[in-house]
């Protein structure tokens, strides 16, 4: 990403199509979407509607069959170092957390930093701060198996923030969590958006949680069916 397109949306897709190799599944059909810096977007839709495919393409994990994603105005297909884009600008949060089982919470948070510029001791200091941010300073030296599922997802979010990304992508981050933990995770996303101005795009099946974002995109059969702001409570905390 460069800074020459300050006015451009953070992400814009243009007639995005994705066909899976056998040609039978048309996962995305002419998707046009623009997401600006600082937005908090929830994507909802039934299984197989193309939500995860869209998220993977937005996160430079996958390439569209046709169409283009513009990152701050620059076509993603022309960005040579997508690894660096993912490492430094994008944080991923997965439904199943995917923490490395042999590493403690503190160490898991440091894993993305191996691609960053920080020396070992600064990596650790930063990981401590990130665990504080997600409310788990006391669990730093625990292995994932010693943590509750909600705590694991918090560690995964801290890990996603390791290199100070501007974009946080979450694929059903509460799909494996109980209601209380899910609520806490959503509150955390809202706080990151509110306090850090972070752009958050998350997929959820839960309509109630979807309503807690600022913008709701509904997908069906690979297409965007609706895209509108979520009405905010009368007396917002902000």
């Amino acid at each position: 990403m460069n800074n020459n397109h300050a006015d451009a949306p953070l992400l814009r897709t243009e007639r995005l199509n994705k066909l899976y190799p056998d040609g039978q599944v048309h996962a995305l059909v002419d998707v046009n979407l623009a997401i600006c810096r600082g937005e908090y977007v929830a994507i909802m839709g039934p299984s197989g509607s193309g939500k995860s495919t869209l998220l993977n393409i937005l996160g430079a994990l996958d390439a569209p069959t046709s169409g283009e994603v513009y990152v701050e105005g620059q076509p993603m297909s022309t960005i040579r170092d997508l690894d660096r884009l993912r490492a430094m600008k994008i944080g991923f949060v997965f439904q199943s957390f995917y923490l490395l089982p042999v590493l403690t919470a503190l160490e898991n948070v440091q894993v993305p930093m191996f691609e960053g510029p920080l020396p070992a001791h600064e990596r650790e200091e930063k990981a401590v701060k990130l665990l504080e941010l997600v409310g788990l300073p006391h669990r730093a030296h625990h292995l994932p198996e010693q943590l509750s599922v909600g705590e694991r997802q918090r560690v995964a979010i801290a890990r996603a923030l390791a290199n100070d990304p501007i974009l946080l992508l979450a694929d059903e981050p509460t799909g494996n969590l109980d209601t209380v933990s899910a609520d806490g995770i959503f509150e955390l996303f809202a706080r990151l958006h509110r306090e850090r101005g972070m752009t958050v795009i998350l997929i959820t099946h839960d309509p109630e949680l979807g309503q807690r974002a600022k913008r709701l995109v509904r997908m069906q059969d690979g297409q965007v069916k609706s895209d509108h702001p979520v009405p905010q409570p009368a007396a917002p905390a902000e």
Binding site: L61, D62, D83, M88, F92, L100, V102, E115, E124
Partner: protein, 375 residues
Amino acid sequence: MHFYTFVLRNIFRRKVRSGLTLVGVAVAVGAVVALVGISDGFESSFLQLYQERNVDLLVSRKGLMDRLTSGLDERVGEKIGGLPHVKAVGAGLIDMVSLEKLGVIGVMVQGLPIGHFVFEQMKIIEGRNLTAADQKGVLVGKILAHNLHKTVGDTLSIVDEDFTIVGVYGTSIVYENGGMVMLLGTLQRLMGREHQVSGFAVVLDQHDPKTVDQVRQTINALDPVRIEAMPAADFVESTSQIQAAHAMAWMTSAVALVIGTVSMLNTMVMSVFERTREIGILRAMGWRRSLIVRMILLESVILSVAGGAVGTLAALSLTRFLSSQASVAGLISGHISAGVVGEGFVIALLVGLIGAAYPAYRGAQLLPTEAIRHE
């Protein structure tokens, strides 16, 4: 957290498998260090035998595969002695005997005439040196004496003939300490090789290569069909026993290395396969392919170098142990050169790199989205 910490955690994740792989590499590297070390020791000890005596040239029968048992007429020595620059000529007959009843095989026996310069460098530890009257006497090297539990005055049956041990000697050369010395005439008679010697060791008054080569050519000209003079290093290197020892050592080592490398390959392929999803996650977090490759290669190299270290220590202990055993003590020097240990480490490194090359390539080629979906 250091990158190495992360790599070590991965290694310790499967302790048994990592342990067994380490043992596999240890056996392979240990085999190389032990076998190559022994065969190198064999060669350097032989060379030392001549170098310590300032022997410039060795004269033996031309065209023979097995020069240790070459036969030349002992009168050739007189002709060589008369050549310019020749300071001394030592005739010697070397043969191998087995003392099977005593559990010792392959003992080198040197038959030397009284006054031979070898006698000057022998240190008599017990008893006395041979004299012209000792037709039934034998000198025994200190290792052999120890292994046979024999001492001065004891009787030794060699080729069904009884000899009395008149002295026990020590030299700096392991083969000699594990061997015996008797009078040339006695050995000639015992082996049925009258008037024959294995060859001549020639000491010159000048040791520069030019003079040595000049004398070599003059000696060869004495009887171009039967005589061949060679500098000591060339002689030792081209000796068939030495070459056979090297070949055997490397061939056995090669088999061990292939097994070690395949074992490493198997481990790393398994390890990468099991961690397919994890690698996908790392790629999703922005890890470059090169960092994935570095992680896998480093895991493999740490395992293989640790295996190499264990194997080398085992090889050093094994050769030390073997050199103290009666049956082979005279043949194996307990010392392994630093060069061979270095070779062992380089080989361990290569085993690690080669064994992990394909798994690392596969790991790096994984597509993040597919890898994350992997069950």
